[in-house]
């Protein structure tokens, strides 16, 4: 089979498909992780997800990440450091506590932390916060390393610098492979793991998939001695992630990295593929981070970078076969969680590809779920 896109999701698809015995070619027009994977962060989170299909996928994915970390942990900088979601006001704490209760019922480990214990967990937190919930399952990887090493251990044939320009289909409409700028690659199954560009690849096969970009900025500080132990963020993050608003939203997610710098991110905006620098966005990130950790005020930002999350209208990815085009499979549209959700996505897709029953219900992720509304709109 051919996987289009060597980002985190394509890498995980290649790994699990190859392990299931399939012969895999992974094609990317750029290098490994040259898309959104190399332009984001590597949080593997359950804490920011409401009970539902995405949380189920996240729980499966985190289990698989922990398995992969057995041999690969150091290479991909896997750190099961846990998350700490902080509420600044009593109202925010109530909302957070309710969310945590629902998550716990769904299988998430969530531990309430009272205001007096906050500093035991994060000694440098601002004073006067209302409380927090700790999520021991949250972890992190370095996305580019993770994608590169998953590809390496998969044994899949990697074709970088090769652009897919069309999807080949037989007289019966079934997929026969892909056309590229350097010749055709024949295969009975094609996986669309093209991330933010997944809509374009779907269109090559004649299928509509409304993947859109959502811009995010990340700030990287100078290297520091370890001071931030968890992934720490404000409780309003949860509201932002689920938000439908096109306006700018920033929620400070602060985390230390193995190499020393602290990462602060990320903003969420729908502004198309605009790559220009936005100082107001960066200012909001900085304000949020210093509110949580006042010591950061004197710490310098070395650089900022930006990326475009691939999102679908209902904020769930498209995973599974496309009933409109036999042989076409999708694994894209993971928005701000594609690193975390990659392993589960790869595993589920491999199960469908080999005719097994997927261990999670794929109905919420059906790639053609937007077709009805589009037809209605026409």
């Amino acid at each position: 089979m051919v996987v289009v896109g060597a980002g985190m999701v394509g890498a995980a698809c290649a790994l699990y498909a190859a392990r299931a015995g399939l012969d895999v070619v992974l094609v990317d027009r750029g290098p490994v992780a040259g898309g959104t994977t190399g332009a984001g962060e590597g949080n593997l989170l359950v804490s920011d997800k409401e009970p539902g299909p995405e949380l189920r996928l996240a729980l499966l994915s985190l289990r698989l990440w922990a398995e992969l970390a057995e041999p690969l942990g150091a290479a991909v900088e896997y750190e099961p450091k846990g998350g700490l979601v902080v509420a600044s006001t009593p109202e925010a704490l109530t909302a957070l506590t309710d969310l945590a209760a629902g998550q716990r019922a769904a299988g998430v480990a969530a531990v309430a932390v009272g205001p007096d214990q906050l500093r035991d967990h994060e000694p440098y937190l601002a004073p006067g916060l209302a409380g927090a919930v700790r999520y021991p399952q949250d972890a992190q990887v370095m996305p580019t390393l993770a994608a590169a090493h998953l590809v390496r251990v998969s044994g899949a044939r990697l074709e970088t610098g090769r652009t897919v320009t069309g999807v080949l289909r037989g007289a019966d409409g079934a997929v026969r492979g892909v056309r590229t700028d350097r010749g055709d690659l024949l295969a009975p199954a094609v996986v669309n793991a093209a991330g933010t560009w997944g809509g374009e690849v779907a269109a090559m096969a004649g299928a509509a998939l409304p993947v859109l970009p959502r811009r995010g900025f990340v700030l990287v500080t100078e290297p520091l001695p370890p001071r931030v132990r968890h992934k720490v963020y404000a409780a309003d993050y949860v509201a932002d992630v689920a938000s439908d608003s096109a306006a700018l939203q920033t929620s400070p997610v602060v985390e230390g990295t193995a190499a020393g710098p602290v990462l602060i991110g990320a903003s969420r905006e729908r502004v198309g593929f605009h790559r220009s620098f936005s100082l107001p966005v960066v200012r909001e990130l900085a304000a949020g981070a210093t509110r949580l950790f006042p010591f950061l005020t004197d710490v310098r930002v070395m650089r900022t970078y930006l990326g475009f999350r691939p999102y679908l209208p209902d904020h769930l990815p498209a995973i599974g076969p496309d009933p409109r085009v036999p042989g076409l499979f999708h694994a894209c549209g993971h928005e701000g969680a594609g690193i975390g959700l990659a392993t589960g996505t790869g595993r589920l897709l491999a199960q469908v590809l080999t005719g097994e029953n997927p261990e999670l219900d794929l109905t919420p992720f059906r790639p053609d779920r937007f077709a009805e509304s589009e037809e209605a709109a026409q």
Partner: protein, 467 residues
């Protein structure tokens, strides 16, 4: 209400920025000249700090007269209130507003506080920085950049060491070697990897640039006079030392750029000043969204970038020496003054500067071809050689990222190895890492031109309206 004059912010007070300031001030615009250094002058006319009481700084500068003219001109315009000069202002971002721009600068050596300046137009004259390629031993204390050695000398009147080898390639090596020798250092060798005959082949385009040739000849004569051995088509193979630099091995290069077996020689020295040419500063332009041509800021005949209201001049638009920077700065300043007042400038007014620009661009294009870093330098970088100092990444790690992890471009190499992610943000190591990785030297996007404290970012400075 009297109409206020438009404000032009000139960033960089080197030859380009000074020429632009003098050309624009007094032509109906107010100029705010912003520079990170303590004194105006840029790299070429770098000034000793006042407190040092240098007696004869002109001994270090040829073209001293041009500098006097610029300095006197600046003083006159400062006195007339046509120019505001802000030293020790490190610009970290120029923000596009509608209309106009806000220039954000960190203050003083500490760079902890920031000010915001409003301007109607921006002229980027930020110059260039040195390219240094890695070789075994280059991270030893005692190995410095050639420009760094010169800056120490010009700015602080101190010698970086007693016995110096100047090595690498490019027209910068000669003035650095003569400057050091004149100041009393023993220059044990000037090691230039380029082939002077390659330069002679391009002589035709040099005919129009006698000043440059004379200057070059002057340097060569002075070198002879100071007894500095000149080794062309040679390279430094390795720098040796335990705690710090003690010696270097130099070798002749054959026509293919390979070391000639048997030609290796040890040269004792406590300082090695290296340079492999210059690269333009493009961070501010990139952050503004100005188009780049490769590694230089793209400009038109009037030195305008493709962002309305933003001009660029000097080495930010391509490496070409102080005289070219002066010409470009003059043109940019004249154009900006006219355009910011809503008029169309007459190119006839800068015809002579335009001719100088044409001539010198051709000259430096030829020079650039001649002074290419030694071919095959990459082959001499051993796997154990650290290529990124900030993050201590070795050439072996970079090669592994390309070989077994599928990196094909500089950005991926950086993400996989952390090369270029440290304090210098790749300004120092990018060309070396790209070379070792075998990929194109694409400039990284550095949206912040300087590291900025989070506290500065978190408290938006409300810029005052233009005065």
């Amino acid at each position: 209400m009297p109409e206020r004059s438009p404000v032009l912010a000139v960033i960089g007070a080197g030859p380009a920025g000074l020429a632009a300031t003098l050309a624009a001030a007094g032509r109906g615009v107010r100029v705010v000249l912003v520079d990170s250094a303590a004194e105006p002058g840029g790299q070429f006319y770098r000034q000793p700090a006042r407190g040092l009481g240098a007696r004869r700084p002109k001994a270090l500068h040829h073209q001293w007269r041009t500098w006097r003219r610029l300095r006197t001109g600046l003083d006159a315009r400062l006195a007339a209130g046509q120019v505001t000069y802000l030293s020790e202002h490190h610009v970290w971002c120029v923000e596009r507003e509608s209309p106009g721009f806000t220039v954000h600068a960190l203050l003083g050596p500490e760079q902890r506080e920031s000010v915001a300046l409003r301007a109607d137009g921006v002229l980027l004259a930020t110059g260039g920085y040195e390219r240094v390629l890695p070789f075994p031993g280059w991270t030893l204390p005692g190995v410095v950049t050639a420009g760094g050695a010169q800056a120490l000398l010009k700015g602080g009147l101190v010698l970086p060491g007693r016995t110096v080898v100047v090595a690498g390639t490019g027209p910068l090596l000669l003035p650095v070697a003569t400057g050091l020798a004149a100041a009393g250092a023993k220059v044990a060798a000037l090691v230039e990897s380029a082939d002077p005959r390659a330069f002679a082949h391009r002589a035709r385009s040099l005919v129009g640039a006698p000043a440059k040739l004379v200057e070059g000849a002057g340097h060569a004569a002075r070198l002879g006079w100071h007894g500095v051995p000149l080794r062309v088509r040679h390279t430094v193979l390795e720098a040796h030392g335990t705690e710090r630099l003690e010696s270097v091995t130099i070798s002749a290069l054959d026509s293919e750029g390979r070391p000639v077996p048997g030609s290796e020689r040890r040269v004792l020295c406590d300082t090695l000043a290296v340079s492999h040419g210059l690269l333009p500063h493009t961070d501010l332009a990139d952050g503004l969204g100005c188009g780049l041509d490769g590694v230089t800021v793209r400009v038109d005949e009037e030195q305008r970038t493709d962002v309305p209201g933003v001009w660029a001049a000097g080495e930010a638009t391509g490496i070409g020496g102080a005289a070219l920077s002066l010409a470009e700065g003059h043109i940019a300043g004249r154009s900006a003054a006219a355009r910011l007042r809503g008029t169309t400038p007459d190119p006839g007014a800068w015809a002579s500067a335009a001719r100088t620009r044409t001539r010198l661009r051709a000259f430096f294009a030829a020079l650039d071809g001649a002074y290419a870093p030694a071919a095959r330098w990459v082959e001499r970088v051993t796997d154990g050689t650290v290529v990124c100092r900030c993050e201590e990444v070795t050439a072996g790690a970079v090669r592994a990222a390309v070989g077994s992890l599928g990196a094909g471009d500089l950005r991926t190499v950086k993400l996989l190895t952390r090369a270029g992610m440290g304090w210098c943000q790749g300004r120092m190591c990018e060309p070396g890492v790209a070379g070792v990785a075998g990929c194109a030297p694409a400039p990284a996007r550095r949206l912040l031109a300087r590291p900025v404290p989070l506290g500065v970012l978190a408290e938006p400075a409300d810029p005052p309206p233009p005065q």
